[in-house]
């Protein structure tokens, strides 16, 4: 069993929460659990309730999307030191992609209901979590725009 101290240490060491105040970290620990996913298994599926978010500790996963009659497309890979999932922050709290473990995956999961409750009750925690999420969301949005440009395709003359 992973001890509370260990969860706190994992949170501390992960780049996403690096430097977080000890009091806020203690609140986070209460919503956290260590999880392991075998390669090829899904962490979550498109359309399912977004009831968690994850810090990736080890391994990598593919963010996939699919449309009927078309092959599955991987839109991004996420690896060690990164986070996955923000659908838990925005109603109606449903995943918009599949997340498949490409290798054995170790993540720290956070129960979304628990975390949203604590963020509502303690705006300092709420601000701290959002402050860390926003740059990641910004980076992902910029990356998606670049991918849409099809940078390496041939230019139209």
């Amino acid at each position: 069993m992973v001890q509370i101290d260990d969860l706190g240490r994992i949170i501390d060491e992960h780049p996403f929460f690096r430097g977080i105040d000890a009091k806020l970290r203690a609140l986070l620990v209460g919503c956290a659990a260590n999880e392991r996913v075998e390669a090829g298994k899904y962490l979550f599926r498109q359309g399912a309730p977004a009831d968690s978010f994850y810090l990736v500790r080890h391994g990598s996963l593919a963010i996939e999307t699919h449309a009927p009659g078309r092959p599955v497309i991987t839109v991004e890979s996420v690896g060690e030191g990164e986070i996955i999932g923000w659908s838990w922050l925005v109603a109606p709290y449903r995943w918009t992609f599949d997340a498949r473990a490409v290798t054995l995956l170790r993540v720290l999961s956070f129960d979304a209901t628990c975390l949203r409750g604590k963020m509502d009750a303690d705006p300092v925690l709420g601000y701290e979590v959002l402050r860390r999420f926003v740059p990641v969301m910004g980076q992902r949005l910029a990356a998606t725009r670049l991918q849409l440009l099809d940078l390496y395709g041939k230019q139209k003359g």
């Binding site: 991987t74 390496y152 041939k154």
Partner: protein
């Protein structure tokens, strides 16, 4: 008899020794001339003349330490490059050059070296990689960060795999899109900049790829703390003379053929995001 000065617009004739298909639309030509070897510096280009089709600027993609043959990697995008794609061993090609500014590999000695390439932009950087590897002990960490459209579009794949097998080199590859089996990174090349293990305080970066990609790559290098006076980019503009005479390649106050193609990012930062240029 008085020897007349060689006409700089007159191409030297080279024979095609080998043609290597790299990707569906990209190939490498190995060329040789009776007139001996071809010295050049990493990052320089030649004006290649396909008889009956026309002349275009193409970077040299071979090893500057092996000037015996001349190597060019070309993506077929239009009339001239497509004509080059039809060349076979024994055919002839006209060559003028080498022209332009090189990657400042020696100036980077003592630093960590980060090479960021996108698509066929790996070709103009390959000579710099060869030169850096030949002087490996003169650098701190060396990272090669490469982005391609899909796994099928990864240029020099075998070589990248060999480089990745070395203990003194970090090679990270990402692709923009995947359908099917691929265990590697998916996402834009700028994401690799955040992951790579270099010390931004002492890093020189060489960046080559489509202009938008270079803009974002420079941005992410700056975000990591790499100083802009140590970032170098290679620019492309249409060219005619290649000699700084005709003005065809003018870009703001610069002639890309003469003042570039490799620019110090600081020199051109103001022009880089101007849409009309």
């Amino acid at each position: 008899m008085i020897a007349l000065p060689a006409d700089p617009m007159l191409p030297r004739l080279f024979d095609v020794l080998k043609v290597k298909r790299e990707l569906a639309d990209t190939f490498t030509l190995e060329l040789k001339s009776d007139g001996g070897g071809f010295g050049f510096q990493a990052g320089q280009f030649n004006m290649l003349y396909a008889f009956g089709a026309g002349e275009v600027p193409i970077s040299i993609s071979g090893d500057p330490g092996k000037p015996g043959t001349l190597v060019h990697t070309i993506r077929a995008v239009g009339a001239v490059t497509e004509a080059m794609g039809r060349l076979k061993p024994g055919d002839t090609l006209g060559v003028r050059g080498p022209y332009g500014t090189p990657w400042p590999v020696e100036q980077a000695f003592g630093d960590d070296l980060v090479i960021v390439a996108g698509g066929v932009g790996l070709a103009p950087l390959r000579p710099a990689i060869y030169q850096a590897l030949a002087n490996r002990e003169k650098f701190g960490r060396v990272s090669i960060l490469y982005g391609a459209r899909s796994p099928e579009d990864i240029l020099f794949r075998k070589e990248l795999e060999q480089w990745r097998g070395r203990f003194d080199l970090e090679v990270l590859v990402t692709v923009d899109r995947v359908s099917g089996n691929w265990g590697g990174n998916v996402g834009v090349v700028t994401k690799l900049v955040a992951k790579a293990g270099f010390d931004p305080m002492d890093t020189t970066a060489f960046v080559c790829g489509p202009e938008v990609m270079m803009r974002f790559a420079v941005d992410s290098l700056e975000k990591r703390g790499v100083s802009t006076d140590k970032i170098h980019v290679s620019m492309e503009r249409n060219m005619k003379c290649g000699l700084g005479v005709c003005g065809h390649c003018q870009w703001g106050p610069h002639f890309v053929c003469r003042d570039g193609p490799v620019f110090h990012f600081d020199e051109i930062a103001g022009l880089f995001s101007v849409r009309e240029l």
